[in-house]
């Protein structure tokens, strides 16, 4: 080993750790402020007493239970519809030849570039016409067909060996049976990857739900948190950080437990 390399190794380890600390600093601070009484929110005193009071104050100050329910329902509905619609579409693209296939596939890919949030003005009018403004269903609607899911599943379906499909057909399986018993089981890792990406995206989504929802009944957590921290509170950092941790809690805990799967899912989703 040459000396300069060893030196660089030591320096970059230090750099890597400093950057990592900087990156989790917001979360560390949130934990500090949320678990201590509000007089310690802005100063670091190691002897400060621990408390869960901020969480119960935050929980009581806004209908977070309802928001949790809304977000969970929204995220599951979107994921279910995405998996259903996009599996069928990806199956058509991967298995069949038809007129205008390339054109239709390009039309799908356009959604990767122009995401629904860019078109909020016009999509809001559409929801108004459908009478779905201020409903959870309306928030989910534009996301039911996901170009990303179609693309990802098509790529996976195309790698499935022809022999397996032919064997299933020999046994008299119909097209949908082939999809159910051959394609879908073999694409499980892709489904998991997409599910994690979709859930974390829609758990955190904000702009479109903000525009569509204007009552407690349809507000997801992100919008609820915004309403809570901008109007109901002064600047009580302890309660705001407690509410912040509450909102990101389930996703955060899920991430810490399934860290490996999360990172690998995002990696899988990223490789074309």
């Amino acid at each position: 080993m040459r000396a300069p390399d060893a030196h660089a190794g030591w320096l970059s380890t230090l750099g890597a750790w400093l950057l990592a600390l900087l990156w989790i600093l917001p979360l560390l601070y949130a934990c500090w402020a949320a678990f201590h009484p509000s007089e310690y929110a802005t100063k670091l005193v190691l002897t400060a007493p621990l408390t869960l009071n901020n969480f119960s104050l935050a929980w009581d100050a806004a209908p977070f239970a309802r928001y949790f329910f809304n977000t969970s329902l929204l995220v599951t509905t979107i994921l279910f519809m995405q998996l259903l619609l996009c599996t069928l579409a990806a199956y058509a693209f991967a298995r069949y030849e038809f007129c205008g296939k390339n054109l239709l596939f390009s039309l799908v890919l356009i959604q990767l570039m122009i995401m629904p949030e860019i078109l909020i003005v016009r999509n809001y009018q559409t929801l108004t016409k459908l009478g779905l403004v201020d409903t959870l269903f309306g928030i989910g609607l534009p996301y039911f067909a996901s170009a990303f899911a179609i693309f990802l599943l098509r790529q996976t379906f195309r790698t499935i060996p022809k022999e397996l499909v032919e064997a299933a057909e020999m046994e008299g399986a119909s097209s949908l049976q082939v999809l159910r018993h051959v394609y879908i089981p073999l694409a499980k890792p892709t489904y998991l990857a997409f599910a994690l990406v979709s859930v974390s995206y829609h758990w955190n989504n904000f702009l479109w739900p903000l525009v569509v929802s204007n009552s407690v009944g349809s507000r997801p957590l992100t919008v609820g948190l915004q309403v809570f921290s901008s109007t109901d509170q002064g600047i009580d950092w302890s309660i705001i950080t407690a509410a912040t941790l509450l909102t990101s809690g389930p996703l955060l805990i899920g991430f810490l437990i399934f860290q490996r799967q999360f990172v690998q899912s995002f990696m899988r989703a990223g490789i074309k």
């Binding site: 950057l19 990156w23 579409a89 069949y96 609607l141 705001i240 990101s248 860290q259």
Partner: protein
């Protein structure tokens, strides 16, 4: 390729039974596509086209329906200083977030990919912002930036510097929200580089070690060129994100002070849902669509050409 040529592309398969069979399969494929396409067309293609049409109409108010006004909305846009401010802000926002987050994400990926002490922890820390809601972390960043007792100012003052009003000073606010965007994005892009690095053959590294190449030389001459397809993928995503990230603006600054941190999509949101000016909001959407179409063409005609050696 027209309908007939695509039905008759197998010249020896002209028997009427086979034709029926081909036709049946085609209809079946279309039926599989139909549900997804209803939503895709309804919420992407149709609104994109309808927006262009709407941008030529006035905003319907009360009993007055929308009327054709030609390019009036665009004329108003050219004379609107807030539009230009938001466009220029968005330009600087993109110019700062894209290269910095790409550089950071490569560095992170190289670090995590090396057998560095505690790489599990490092990977977790870098990736963490990706799973946190932007609106939630923006609240914490507001505290960091608060004048007086905010964390950044406390640290600055401890070292004898003057504190700044990070979100209240028009010259600092855009930089402050840019930092938040970079923090949020870099760990996400790291994942793509990490995946690419793990796909590289270890023999490159062994060869470089045998030759005694420095790690910088190895990166510049071997890893960076091999990572080019990933960089282009990340670049396109970062470009789209630069026009799409507004959550933190809504929470942290509301575009202020004096529109110093207003971005295009944020301004579009204000015009569309605060002033309810549908005609003008449609014209602003058209501008965003044009910018994204430009990104798409750039990717298709320039960037993808350069990665065809894959």
């Amino acid at each position: 390729m027209g309908l007939t040529s695509c039905l008759f592309d197998k010249p020896d398969a002209l028997g009427s039974r086979q034709l029926m069979q081909t036709l049946r399969l085609q209809i079946y494929a279309y039926l599989l596509l139909l549900p997804a396409f209803i939503f895709l067309v309804g919420f992407t293609h149709y609104p994109a086209l309808a927006t262009l049409f709407d941008s030529l109409m006035s905003t319907p108010r009360g009993s007055r329906p929308a009327v054709f006004v030609g390019l009036d909305n665009y004329q108003g846009m050219i004379e609107d200083p807030i539009f230009w401010k938001s466009l220029v802000n968005n330009f600087w926002f993109a110019l700062a977030t894209i290269p910095i987050s790409i550089a950071l994400s490569i560095t992170m990926a190289l670090w995590v990919n090396d057998k560095m002490t505690g790489r599990q922890f490092l990977r977790m820390s870098y990736f963490l912002p990706t799973v946190l809601p932007m609106i939630a972390v923006a609240n914490i960043w507001i505290f960091f930036y608060t004048p007086g007792y905010g964390l950044i100012n406390q640290v600055l003052q401890a070292f004898g510097f003057a504190g700044q009003n990070w979100l209240g000073d028009p010259t600092l606010v855009l930089g402050s929200v840019t930092v938040v965007a970079i923090w949020k994005e870099a760990g996400f892009f790291m994942i793509f580089y990490l995946a690419a690095l793990q796909g590289l053959s270890p023999s490159y590294k062994e060869a470089a070690a045998l030759e005694g190449a420095s790690s910088w030389y190895f990166f510049r001459r071997v890893q960076w060129p091999l990572l080019m397809p990933t960089t282009i993928f990340v670049l396109v995503n970062a470009l789209i994100n630069a026009f799409r990230m507004v959550d933190h603006i809504i929470v942290m600054t509301k575009g202020g002070p004096d529109n110093a941190s207003s971005l295009l999509l944020f301004y579009l949101y204000e015009v569309g849902f605060k002033f309810w000016d549908q005609g003008y909001a449609s014209a602003l959407t058209a501008v965003l669509l044009a910018l994204l179409a430009f990104v798409g063409l750039l990717q298709f005609f320039v960037l993808d050409r350069r990665t065809h050696y894959r």
